[in-house]
């Protein structure tokens, strides 16, 4: 039998997803279902002087209208679950419905429940609110300046925390440095844009006191816990089901007011209630990503040794601290300032700043793309300053492959790596010499070609639970699996993680089928229902395969161990005389004396003839807690041509070489890389959430927010190197965020290389034609 582990079989979940047979939250239909629509503030910052819902209550079909006053004493504000230690973190209350003040455009002030969604929407127009507008700002740097609008009375400067990362002696390094470069970098706000917006259906059984909540969730166990807090309902009376979830990119990790309020309404009214987000509502109230304004510096020697990095970062939090928000620009960002390099001296000061924007939380890569971007931009700027090839600067500073596990200045221990191999492979695919020759020819013709290169690392496979506790994450970071073998030998696997597009129904089945000598069809993966899956921590941070996949493997091996004892009993052989060969336990030397898993499963489940003392049944549970994070890496290269007249950037080639350890399913890995690269190209070229002076989101629809489209994207050449991780039994590292972490910086490096003859060293992303053109005009001394 061909080996299943490492085979690029087709995704088993796809047929139902692409033929409309999958059940998403909005597909859940229940008898007497009512619909919720929220009345939301049009102002980014205002006092609520008066709110009158009497007309809305009278509207056709309306069953109930709730305001902030109705719920504030009965429900608990939305919790923030990442209490980053060693800083002055202040977490202001985030009421489920605003009752005295709104702090961003989209803050909910009332919830209307009606018999139809259209009736609820019509009644929202009748909710009458007197707002007294206040000054507002969505700019995280301006919000800290004296005289800026104050969001929360108890936080006069809007600074929610000041967090410092430090390793070595950055001050001394910069003081004595031969060369230092600096740059102000803006990492713009982004809108996560999952294809399926958020939705919730809540059903409360007054007889049993059980609440069932169907929700768009990347982590139903976390949602169960947080809903239990908000609703003051014991955890065992809540069942959260994440059915099919149409993408998340981090935006479906947090707890939001909406799901809790819908649950509250279902409990109050005794009928099921559904809420489905509009796309416009999604852009307004579902978390955003990035939003950094950074002042960054790098120092080193004239011969290219990097000796220090220093940063000051204003990280926008938006109006309230979302579930994981404080950990994103700190733990997941500042700790990886070394990138792929031996940088002995690091100092970073991160200000988490409240603004009148939508809350900011984890978005694909979450903190790590921002770190990779600033490091990889700085390496290019530094190389240019000392007149050295940026590729050689990278080579010179790489952590050598024989140094792993390697402790970087911030204290992280990188598990394994071979950065030079990935770099060499990518350069081989490019044919660097030919490109540089073409670039030189083009420059003579007045055309601008450029090459960008990024050698990134990321911190993935979150992570050891002990570390989670140490860094203030309000949960564990192990994950879990139950492998249950049925009498006919087929297998169901119940997992604690909650895949929503990443393909683990295929890859996890490959892990089990591979161990059991089965075709993949014999294994089903069940996820997303807190009533039948073991406690787990969800799907994010490129952790699902490294952590939950490892739990699957450990559980499968436990099953196999028991099966082996049973086989020895049935074959009347010593356990030591058995070996697993092809698809069965066989007696060494007489391979025809064999028992396969299906036969053993039947005996274990009927238990007619068990070894003395062995319990019936064939299943095992495993909780896997890794000993360290995993650190995937790679090199991406892109080549571009810039139209000097129009500022348009055309991507000529995009090469991605990634190392995520041994791929379980290479096709799925490549798909993850494609998706990630495209999201990063979107960030690099065209995506930006723009707020105006009144903190109104002006890119609030897809007409204005430039989600990347297939027709705008280049062909992506994908290749891999394979360096196993020692921290989990699969050796895998995670690949969901890799593409996004590398590609935005890669693109900006390429455009800056193209425009180097004009003296341009940096342009803030996204590199829209207008921005590139303006930079060219400025470089030429013209006023654009």
């Amino acid at each position: 039998m061909a080996t299943l582990f490492g085979s690029g079989i087709k995704r088993r979940e796809d047929p139902r997803l692409i033929t409309g047979q999958a059940t998403y939250v909005d597909d859940v239909k229940l008898p007497r279902l009512a619909y919720a629509v929220f009345a939301r503030s049009p102002y980014a910052h205002a006092k609520i002087a008066r709110i009158d819902v009497s007309a809305a209550r009278q509207a056709p079909g309306v069953l109930a209208v709730y305001t902030g006053a109705d719920v504030k004493d009965r429900l608990v504000p939305v919790p923030c679950a990442w209490n980053v230690p060693n800083c002055d973190l202040k977490i202001p209350a985030h009421p489920l419905l605003a009752h005295d003040r709104v702090r961003y455009a989209g803050d909910a002030v009332a919830m209307v429940i009606a018999e139809t969604r259209a009736q609820a929407r019509d009644a929202v127009d009748l909710v009458d609110v007197d707002y007294e507008p206040l000054r507002a700002t969505a700019d995280p740097e301006k919000a800290t300046q004296p005289g800026a609008a104050r969001l929360h009375e108890e936080i006069p400067d809007n600074i929610g925390f000041t967090w410092v990362v430090s390793g070595g002696d950055a001050e001394a390094a910069f003081q004595g440095a031969e060369v230092a470069v600096s740059q102000r970098i803006v990492q713009q706000r982004l809108l996560p844009t999952a294809m399926e917006p958020r939705a919730a259906v809540a059903q409360y059984n007054r007889g049993s006191g059980q609440l069932t909540l169907w929700a768009t969730s990347q982590n139903p166990h976390i949602h169960r816990f947080l809903c239990s807090v908000m609703l003051k309902l014991p955890e065992h009376r809540i069942r959260v089901i994440a059915p099919e979830v149409g993408g998340g990119f981090g935006s479906k990790i947090p707890a939001y007011p909406d799901e809790a309020l819908v649950s509250f309404a279902a409990m109050e009214l005794g009928i099921p209630v559904k809420w489905t987000e509009d796309r416009s509502e999604n852009y307004k109230v579902t978390i955003h990503g990035r939003d950094h304004i950074e002042y960054v510096e790098m120092c080193g020697t004239r011969d290219g040794t990097i000796t220090g990095i220093r940063t000051k970062v204003y990280a926008g939090l938006g109006a309230y601290a979302s579930t994981a928000a404080p950990g994103i620009p700190t733990i997941l960002h500042g700790l990886v300032y070394s990138g792929s390099y031996m940088i002995p001296n690091i100092h970073g000061t991160i200000y988490g700043v409240y603004t009148n924007g939508t809350p900011v939380d984890a978005y694909r890569g979450a903190g790590r793309p921002e770190a990779a971007y600033l490091i990889e931009r700085l390496v290019d700027i530094f190389a240019r300053k000392i007149g050295m090839d940026p590729i050689e600067v990278r080579r010179k500073n790489f952590i050598p492959k024989d140094q792993f596990p390697y402790t970087v200045a911030t204290g992280l221990i990188y598990d394994s790596g071979n950065y030079e191999a990935a770099l060499d492979k990518a350069l081989g695919l490019l044919d660097l010499k030919a490109f540089r020759a073409e670039q030189a020819r083009a420059r003579k013709e007045g055309r601008y070609l450029g090459m960008g290169l990024v050698s990134y690392i990321e911190i993935c496979g979150l992570g050891p639970s002990q570390v989670a506790g140490a860094v203030g994450f309000g949960g564990g970071l192990y994950d879990s699996a139950i492998v249950r073998v049925y009498p006919t030998g087929v297998v169901k696997v119940y997992i604690g993680a909650s895949p929503h597009g990443q393909g683990e129904e295929t890859t996890f089945a490959q892990i089990v089928a591979h161990e059991f000598g089965y075709p993949v069809e014999n294994v089903e993966i069940i996820h997303g229902d807190t009533d039948n899956t073991p406690q787990g921590w969800g799907t994010y941070g490129s952790r699902t395969t490294a952590v939950c996949g490892s739990a699957v493997k450990v559980a499968a091996l436990r099953v196999k161990e028991k099966a082996k004892l049973l086989a020895a009993h049935l074959l009347e052989a010593n356990e030591a005389d058995l070996e697993w060969k092809d698809d069965a336990f066989r007696v060494k030397g007489s391979p025809d004396k064999a028992k396969g898993m299906a036969e053993l499963a039947l005996m274990a489940n009927v238990a007619w003839n068990m070894p003395p003392g062995m319990e019936p049944g064939l299943e095992a549970t495993a909780f896997f807690d890794p000993t360290n994070f995993v650190y995937p890496f790679g090199t991406h290269i892109c080549t571009v041509e810039v139209d000097e007249q129009t500022g348009q950037v055309k991507i000529l080639r995009y090469i991605a070489v990634d190392d995520c350890g041994p791929p379980i399913n290479p096709m799925i890995v490549d798909g993850q890389i494609h998706g990630g690269v495209i999201q990063g190209i979107g960030e690099g070229l065209q995506e930006i959430a723009v707020y105006d002076e009144e903190a109104q989101l002006v890119t609030g629809t897809m007409m204005d927010y430039a989600v990347p489209k297939a027709s705008q994207m280049p062909h992506i050449e994908v290749a891999h190197t394979i360096t196993p991780s020692p921290v989990n039994p699969l050796g895998v590292k995670g690949c969901g965020e890799a593409g996004t972490i590398a590609s935005a910086a890669c693109l900006v490096n390429a455009v800056c290389d193209a425009l180097a003859p004009l003296g341009i060293t940096h342009i803030d992303k996204p590199l829209t034609p207008a921005r590139v053109w303006a930079a060219i005009q400025k470089a030429k001394g013209a006023t654009p």
């Binding site: 007249q645 129009t646 065209q686 723009v690 204005d704 829209t768 034609p769 053109w773």
Partner: protein, 281 residues
Amino acid sequence: MIPTSFDYVRAGSVKEALGLLALGDGTKVIAGGHSLLPMMRFRLVQAPKLVDISRLEELRGVQEYKKGLRIGATTTYAELARHPLVRERCPVIAEVAADVADIQVRNRGTIGGSLAHADPASDMPAVMLALDAEFQLRSKKGGRRTVRAREFFKGAFATDMTEEELFTDILVPGMGRNAAVYVSFDSAASGYALAGVCASVGRKRATISDIGVAEVAFVATALERMKDTKCDAAVLAAAAKEAVAGLEIAGDAHAPAAYRRHIAEVAIVRAVERAYQRAGT
């Protein structure tokens, strides 16, 4: 994204549609719905009634008209893109239609709906202005009337049409010796043009004998000075600058005014040069 409630009537004939519009009760015409429905879902438009003309055969299709074309208002972009007569007589219309949005929009969106909507960022107005097309309108009281495209567009989302009128046909004159090219620079988000220029150029040997240029909803009369030249680059650049100088151009989140102004000039230059080249082949 739920519109306010409205009544819906599928018109069985043009006459029935005109009768409903004549009531003057705010009834809106719907064909492909790709401009109207989004506005209704945002509640920017709250129409009490829609009259659907999309199945009226008499408003659909392409015929020969003198040496040019008669195009029915409800002809879709997809039909225009592949229509042999359009591709033969006025290929620029087929080219522009093929490049509008995506296949779903092209299958539903109609040329008449787009022109009547007069979105300054859409592509077809510039084409119609450059080709000097005429539009036919009908109403119950006023009967038929024909308006030059150059008189029809009155500004952003503003036209010469009354609430009671129905846009029925587009008359495109024969191209003669002219060749036309459309050049646009599009928003990465919406696909709509930040700047879009159609140039129709006729030439005798190397000399420009006829020229019509339009940037979105404006005829660029400054380009007329290109006549009797051999498409001289310096004259073209100066004329493009002058043409754009006269336009009111505002910036927004996608591009500041200075950039829009600049690429409008670039689009004029590129469209004229390409049309000039095409006319010579």
